[in-house]
Amino acid sequence: MNVLERTDSGLYCRAADAWIDPSRPVSRALITHAHADHARPGCGEYWAVDVSEGVLRQRLGRDIHLHCMPYRQEFWLNQACLSFHSAGHVLGSAQIRVMVEDQVWVVTGDYKRCPDPSCEPFEVVPCDVLITEATFGLPIYAWAPGTLVATQIRDWWHGDRERPSLLFCYSFGKAQRLLAELNAIGVDEEVLLHGAVETVTRHYREAGVAMTSSRPVSELPRKDSLAGRLILAPPSAHRSAWMRRFRSPQTAFASGWMAVRGARRRRGYERGFVLSDHADWQGLVQTVLHSGAKTVYVTHGQSDVLARFLRERHGLDAQPLDQLI
């Protein structure tokens, strides 16, 4: 009997009568992290990591029925013993460990292996069966340390004081990591934020993450040219009406996808900084090997590629997740 099974609503644990990151409303949801494709509104009750509470409630509603658990603390739902373990993806992101009888399954959710000053590092959780993501599951993806990328960003920003520097990045996770990485390399100049970035950043400050000072760009007078300032904004703001207030800005995008030239040019940004909150190829392969799992299911992105590589090179029983019954 499998500990987890695939249903129309997502991964289901029969022993706990609970779904992991369900794709539609269910009675009980276990949430790996608060990104919109993992945490959806409308469920009866939610179980998640305590530090993710602020962002979760902001996104799913103040009055959701939410059970908060610290990392590593075991709790029982019916016949299943569950615990959350840090995934190193964003603030409060977790892998979920599910033990039923003597079988241990781990769902990684989204994760990364390189250090990130804005959230807890990834924890290796030994298991029998691992369900891993593979967003960047190709060997062309290999990340440089965040401090190095932060230095490139600072040099780009300080290299043109005549114009505003618009840096696009995901508003939850990447933006705060950038503020923390900049802080870590000694930048103490105030950074300006798009409204969508600002609302999430508040929760990071409450959680005590050390970041450079920041302010919503909307607080500055409209006639301010913003020359020489760094502004963080979500990709959806690129070429939007909001962008019109900046006079001929230099633009860049911070994302793992920027590793490939065509991907950057297609999006029309001048610069691409390669910074990801997902594991790179080595990170994915090492995580699988370290977990000791003999059976691996791969989901998101390059699931066929990673599964085949694990089978052929490492002799593991690895399949894309859609092969799980």
């Binding site: 060997p139 490939v260 065509g262 297609r266 940004y269 390059q302």
Partner: protein
């Protein structure tokens, strides 16, 4: 080499045209002339001999790293460029590859590399030397150079070695940059670029030399062609119709016929000398006075026939090195003259079209008296009386076997390149069919990892009366969708993939697109028995289901109609 690498990196990080022009102009002013010549050649996308194929380069990395073939394939179809894929993979794989034991010759090159040699040394000495090596030595050399280069240089090195070098800089932009950097007229730069290119100091110096007024005999060198843009109604409405000249737009190839004391030269728009393929036109040119240059259309057209043959007849000649007697008889050729650029040594390009046409008319009459003079035809045109006539004239032109009309301002000088305002082309509406999307393949460059190369099918006859009709491949098309449609379609393709064959995917036959094309003819080479010219997507037919798409029989009917129109008139 460092300066060139820096230029490429900065160009890559700029999106504005103005900024790119400034960067190139600055670089060319400061660079050594020999290196600058190479920069111009590379930026203009001048085709060089391929030194090492992308496949060979990949083989070198693969043999050294034991990375499986399929994984390479997946990476490459994701990145869309083999040189870039290798540059991204090398930093990952280098630790698994044993350090190279340098053989003495390779060690010599590496030693040279450490002294920051100039760009022309890379292009003329190092890269050809690597290309000429024995396989083992070559592997050793490439791996050693990869080891010694910083990661950010790998891409450039691989690109230069594999020959293809397109980095998103248009030719026109380089011309503007040369003009700006050396204070020259763009037209003059274009004209100088018509001389054979060479990666030498002298060539670059003559390209950028200050303009000395006197223009020596150009010899066999053609003038830069003046190109027309597709007509936009709003762009002409302003002026009176009578200022415009309308003539047939023939479906041949653009040519410039030059008569000098030193010989006769027929150039195609692609700047290729095509004397050998059209010897009859060279004979005919004997009737043209010395130092005279005609602009016109090379087309298959028999002496006694009222209208030209289809483009496919011309194609039969273009593929040949020489044209035999049989082909000369089967595909008789004419030159339809429509402009006179130089006459008896006078450069007429700055005079008005009206003036040039008058002189062309006189010249044509004199040529016509000679034995093979019929091969030089005059493009019959007329002054436009009223704007309302335009569409009717176009319809008549199509009846006469033209692909539409040209609209030229009677006062227009003969400019160079594509300059808007004076010359417009107004082609017939394309033929269209609704076809079903059945395969998709990822694009390259800017379209890497996006499914942008599409294959479309029409409904064929059922194999047996009782069986269902089958979709038969009809045409491939790459252009016509806007960026948001491309993204939407890409997502759809990923979620409706049925099978994968390497980089190609077959998709559920559900989506219908209106495909436009310029011509259609029978073909033995194509599965459906028909070949189309310039197929492109006109629109996504959200309102249609696959069942309602057109059939091969419909396409056949179009083909027959086209053929009949040719014979009837």
């Amino acid at each position: 080499m460092n300066a060139f690498a820096a230029l490429i990196e900065e160009l890559d990080q700029s999106t504005g045209t103005k900024r790119k022009i400034d960067l190139i102009a600055d670089h060319l002013q400061q660079a050594d002339a020999h290196d600058a010549a190479w920069t111009v050649l590379l930026l203009m996308g001048e085709r060089r001999k391929r030194l090492i194929t992308g496949r060979r380069l990949r083989e070198i990395l693969q043999q050294a790293s034991a990375m499986p073939d399929w994984l390479f394939d997946d990476c490459q179809s994701h990145v869309g460029d083999s040189a870039e894929t290798l540059s991204l993979l090398w930093p990952q794989l280098r630790n698994d590859i044993p350090a190279q034991i340098h053989n003495p010759e390779v060690a010599f090159w590496i030693d040279q590399l450490s002294s920051a040699p100039p760009m022309h040394w890379w292009m003329e000495t190092l890269l050809p030397a690597i290309a000429a090596m024995e396989p083992n030595e070559q592997t050793n050399a490439v791996l050693t150079i990869w080891e010694s280069l910083p990661d950010e240089r790998l891409f450039l090195f691989n690109k230069l070695l594999t020959g293809g070098f397109r980095i998103g800089v248009a030719r026109g932009l380089v011309v503007k940059a040369i003009a700006a950097g050396f204070n020259l007229e763009e037209a003059l730069v274009l004209e100088r670029l018509m001389t054979p290119w060479a990666a030498s100091e002298r060539w670059f110096q003559s390209l950028t030399a200050i303009n000395s007024e006197e223009r020596a005999n150009r010899g066999p060198v053609p003038y830069p062609f003046f190109l027309a843009s597709p007509l936009k109604q709003e762009s002409i409405d302003a002026g009176p119709a009578s200022e415009w000249w309308v003539e047939n737009k023939w479906d041949g190839i653009r040519g410039q016929l030059i008569q000098r004391g030193s010989g006769t030269y027929l150039w195609s728009r692609g700047e290729e000398l095509i004397n050998e393929q059209f010897p009859e036109l060279i004979d005919m040119a004997a009737a043209i006075p010395e130092d005279t240059v005609l602009d016109g259309e090379v087309i298959c057209w028999a002496e006694t026939e009222p209208q030209p043959r289809p483009f496919s007849d011309l194609q039969r000649r273009l593929g040949r090195k020489t044209v035999g007697r049989k082909l000369r008889l089967e595909c008789p050729v004419s030159f339809v003259a429509y402009d006179l650029l130089e006459h008896n040594g006078d450069d007429l390009r700055s005079t008005s079209l009206q003036q040039r046409l008058r002189q062309l008319d006189e010249l044509h009459q004199r040529i016509g008296e000679k034995p093979s003079g019929w091969r030089c035809r005059l493009s019959s045109g007329q002054q436009l009386g009223h704007w309302d006539q335009l569409d009717q004239l176009r319809a008549q032109a199509v009846e006469r076997g033209a692909e539409g009309v040209m609209l030229k301002h009677l006062k227009s000088p003969y400019l160079s390149g594509r300059k808007r305002g004076y010359w417009w082309k107004h082609k017939r509406d394309p033929m269209t069919l609704d076809a079903v999307l059945i395969y998709a393949q990822a694009g390259r460059g800017r379209r890497a990892n996006l499914f942008t190369d599409y294959t479309f099918a029409l409904w064929g006859q059922p194999q047996e009366p009782s069986s269902n009709p089958q979709l038969v491949t009809f045409a491939k098309a790459y252009s016509g969708l806007n960026d948001s449609e491309i993204l939407e379609l890409d997502r759809w393709i990923r979620s409706h993939t049925q099978e994968r064959f390497g980089p190609t995917r077959s998709v559920a036959p559900e989506l219908v697109f209106e495909i436009g094309f310029e011509g259609i003819q029978t073909s033995k080479r194509h599965k459906c028995g028909l070949a189309v010219r310039f197929p492109r997507i006109l629109r996504w037919r959200h309102d249609r289901t696959a069942e309602s798409a057109n059939t091969i029989v419909d396409a056949q009917t179009l083909c027959d109609q086209l053929a009949n129109r040719g014979e009837a008139s």
